[in-house]
């Protein structure tokens, strides 16, 4: 009996700490007052409305969206062939390559950001947007390789040989047989990459310059100046967006199989 109540307590506390902050943010954004407080000072949706009128939020949202979409697409263009090569060919140092590819998630983002700033942006005068794009591509790449690898491993290679014997070239077999059968894995990798890139803070922190900021960085700097509930409202909206994406992905793709 006691152990049953203990386990309930542990589950309850875990859920409180996992989901609790989410509710606090939702309600803090609903405040009718001018400061972020919890419990809120009365209820209103005015801060949720205000979010859409802040110019810098709109610009940084557009940049974050751009980075998340095109950074992930670039990562997939690099990652799908890499995953294919690793899973199909007995290439030397396959394990090493997998580890190196995973480096951007293992190395602290702060270091990646600093390195990119110090060695790309400053000496080579790369634009901040380009550096951000490269950084986000690199950060998403490991997820792309891993998720696509796992769906490739479930696909038997004799299918490609069958396609070749029916007249396909090797590339043709990949396009006509492999790609259609791993498309849900590719889509899952895209969603994971999108969310990862969109929520990225440490690397972007170093690479954000005047006028070029991703949304999370913009929210940080907004809060340093103005402590009104609009940041809470925006956070709640972003959290809901992420949850919605993952929920839909789970429903239609069985997302959790891939991650």
């Amino acid at each position: 009996m006691t152990s049953k109540w203990t386990s309930r307590l542990i589950i309850g506390l875990t859920l409180t700490f996992l989901i609790g902050p989410f509710f606090i943010i939702i309600f803090a954004g609903m405040s009718a007052g001018d400061f972020m407080t919890f419990p809120p000072d009365g209820l209103s949706l005015k801060w949720y409305m205000k979010v859409f009128t802040v110019e810098s939020f709109r610009e940084s949202f557009a940049l974050s969206l751009f980075l998340a979409i095109f950074g992930t697409i670039a990562a997939l263009i690099l990652g799908v062939p890499a995953a294919y090569a690793i899973s199909r060919y007995n290439i030397p140092y396959a394990e090493t390559i997998k580890t190196v590819v995973a480096a951007p998630i293992i190395v602290p983002g702060i270091i990646v950001g600093l390195a990119l700033l110090r060695y790309l942006v400053v000496p080579l005068s790369f634009t901040v947007t380009l550096a951000l794009f490269m950084a986000h591509t690199a950060l998403v790449l490991p997820y792309a390789v891993r998720v696509v690898s796992s769906s490739l491993n479930n696909l038997r290679s004799d299918m490609e040989e069958a396609a070749v014997l029916l007249g396909c070239s090797r590339i043709g077999a990949f396009m006509r047989v492999v790609l259609p059968n791993i498309q849900s894995g590719v889509l899952a990798a895209f969603i994971l990459g999108f969310v990862t890139s969109f929520n990225q803070v440490p690397v972007s922190l170093f690479l954000s310059g005047p006028g070029v900021r991703t949304l999370p960085i913009d929210m940080l700097s907004y809060m340093e100046i103005t402590y009104d509930p609009s940041v809470a409202a925006l956070s709640a909206l972003l959290a809901l967006l992420s949850v919605a994406i993952v929920f839909l992905a789970e429903k239609f793709l069985g997302f959790s199989r891939y991650v």
Partner: protein, 342 residues
Amino acid sequence: MSNAFVSLQKLSLAYGQTVVVPELNLDIREGELIALLGPSGCGKTTTMRAIAGLMTPQSGKIHIGGVDMTHTPANKRGIGLVFQSYALFPHLTAFENVAFGLRLKKMPVSEIKSRVEEGLNTVGLSHLADRKPAEMSGGQQQRLSLARSLVMEPKVLLLDEPLSNLDARLRLDMRTELQRLQRATGITMIFVTHDQAEALALADRIVLMKDGVIEQVGTPDELYNNPASKFAADFFGFENIFAIKGSNIIGSNGSLTANFDAENGHLAWRPSAISVGSGPFQGTVMGVSFAGEQREYVIKTDFGQIKAANPAADPVYEIGTLVAFDLPSKSAWHLPNVGNDS
């Protein structure tokens, strides 16, 4: 052989440093149904993959239809292969699977349609044209895979263990089906199997392989009745094989003196040739098993173990019983000493 349709000349196959087939020569006539038979690791599948163009030989030549195809890429050889796993395309329906190769040939849509329908009809799957492979049974997938290769009108059709994934009843149906298709289309077929019964039942000629070397080539009758080596004899059911030295036969535990007609090489008996109950020799029953028509015995003797069989209707000898048996000279198959016998 000048009329060879598929000709493998001094073919040498290796994976990296591992030589699987050192040097293989084989001629196959047009329209033949050939079995590549042997235990796993004997190089039969590798040989088949080389014919298909899925692996490049280290040396040697592959001629198909009189053309040197040694270096022709797999997608230009015009050879069909039915994979052991069927290798169907899971995202396509049965119809689209069969149409796959025809579409690549840029054939007119109407002709593709009629040929796919004909192909599905040949294997009795017309009613399942819209199903995906996952919605079909193993036997249906097998036939779909066959249809997908057949509509391409291949010069040679290769089949990798075509019956191994089917249950016993389907296996018999598929055997008949394959023979029928082969007679109807006249396509040269080469199938790989490890099952001697399958090879005997289906093939016009059997190529028995061991360790990458052809042990014997012949008709099912020849291999079954006149195996040329100890390995071949063992593979085709001569489960009692003993070396002969003078008037002794040598078992694993000792020798037995008897007057056999041969003086060297080996003598081999099928279990059915040795009956239990009477005869000049004695042994203890170690195992009895019922096998339908026959009752099979494992008997321990002073010189080694033997396997014998009586008609099932005969009295049963229980385990532990001392029984008499005979090794009849007239039903022994004599294998003269040949180089590769151990």
